[in-house]
Symmetry: none
Subunit: 221 residues, 2 copies
């Protein structure tokens, strides 16, 4: 069981962590919404405990952002107990809420309930396997002949996009738009450098990324 604790107050985080780890759970922490979103992009959690009022990015917005790419259950931690907050929390995609001050016992109960609820309909992970190359998009890990490949964020994104579009000829322009974003106005050849790095990390399976001269690249099994 892996839980992400998102709260700007260190004391709150400490208490929650202690209880969860006491029960044998694993924890990770974020101090604000921004960090939470980032951590969710990089890791897979079973539950997220999310405070509402935080610097940089509030809990509501963070959940909204996370919902774009993940269905991880969220339990909101609210200092305000007004109905409005509760309702809004639900609409925005959270699965439960607890109002401060809360008892650790209560929080643990909610965690178990949420995990149980979500457990019934676990989606199969997107795990691709091409010969000795395993790619787990949700878990965000890539193994080459059983050995874990340490990729940088961009390398993951690039590889995932390649895999999602296996067999399709991709121009550098399209890769830049889709992997880097529409607001990237840099050099074409940046793609090449990242492909080089990615190929290096894929070892023998570099062969799957074929160069299309005059066009770009293609992932092909």
């Amino acid at each position: 069981m892996k839980v992400l604790i998102v709260d700007d107050e260190e004391m709150i985080r400490d208490v929650l962590r202690e209880y969860i780890e006491f029960e044998g759970g694993e924890t990770d922490e974020a101090q604000d919404g921004m960090e939470a979103v980032k951590k969710c992009r990089e890791n897979r959690y079973d539950v997220i405990l999310m405070d509402i009022m935080m610097p940089k990015l509030d809990g509501f917005s963070a959940v909204k952002e996370i919902r774009k790419f993940s269905d991880t259950p969220v339990i909101m931690l609210s200092a305000r107990s007004e109905e409005y907050d509760k309702l809004f929390g639900f609409e925005i995609g959270s699965d439960d809420y607890v109002t401060k001050p809360f008892s650790p016992k209560e929080v643990m109960a909610r965690i178990h309930a949420v995990i149980k609820r979500a457990g019934g309909e676990k989606k199969p992970r997107d795990i691709y396997e091409f010969e000795g190359l395993k790619i787990d998009m949700v878990g965000r890990n890539v193994t080459v002949d059983g050995e874990r490949a340490e990729l940088t964020p961009k390398e993951y994104e690039l590889l995932f996009y390649f895999v999602e579009n296996a067999g399709v000829a991709l121009t550098r322009e399209r890769l830049l738009n889709q992997v880097w974003g529409y607001d990237f106005y840099g050099d074409d050849r940046t793609v090449d450098t990242h492909v080089k790095m990615l190929r290096g990390n894929l070892k023998e399976y570099r062969k799957f990324i074929v160069t299309l001269r005059g066009l770009g690249y293609k992932f092909e099994v």
Copy 2:
């Protein structure tokens, strides 16, 4: 992908159109809610981008009206970022919202998310087959009797253009303009050389590229 852009500001429409079309999407526009409803009755869209504040009929009312006869996903574009608007937008039947000023990247991401949510339709690839000659434009594959043909970039472009215009007599000039681009000021006979190379690679299926003496070439099955 067909998107209806509804906004009274031309500049906003222009920016959105540009981004969507850049990605290969098709767009249609409406200046107010009334026009939007009318267009929706007459056409089928994959997504509607709807501004809230507009003359004649505001975004909320327009969505309400459209919901009477269509389930097309709607993304609201709101100038006001108050919670109220957001909530109201949801209740009224929109699928997502973006507050101005928005980044094109964000809007495109929402569009993709909404379309995916609404059940992504996979398009079958355009694979042409002429006897033993298979041509997959998307994957950039050409096989001759099952054997893969290794073409150069120009050869691909030339072949693809031939296939897209099968049965049409093409002058060298037209080929130069369409395949090489209008800014090519080289020799006419360059085409000949490439046709020669292409024919060589198509082996027995060279027969599909027929010479039109005094004119140019034609791809004919």
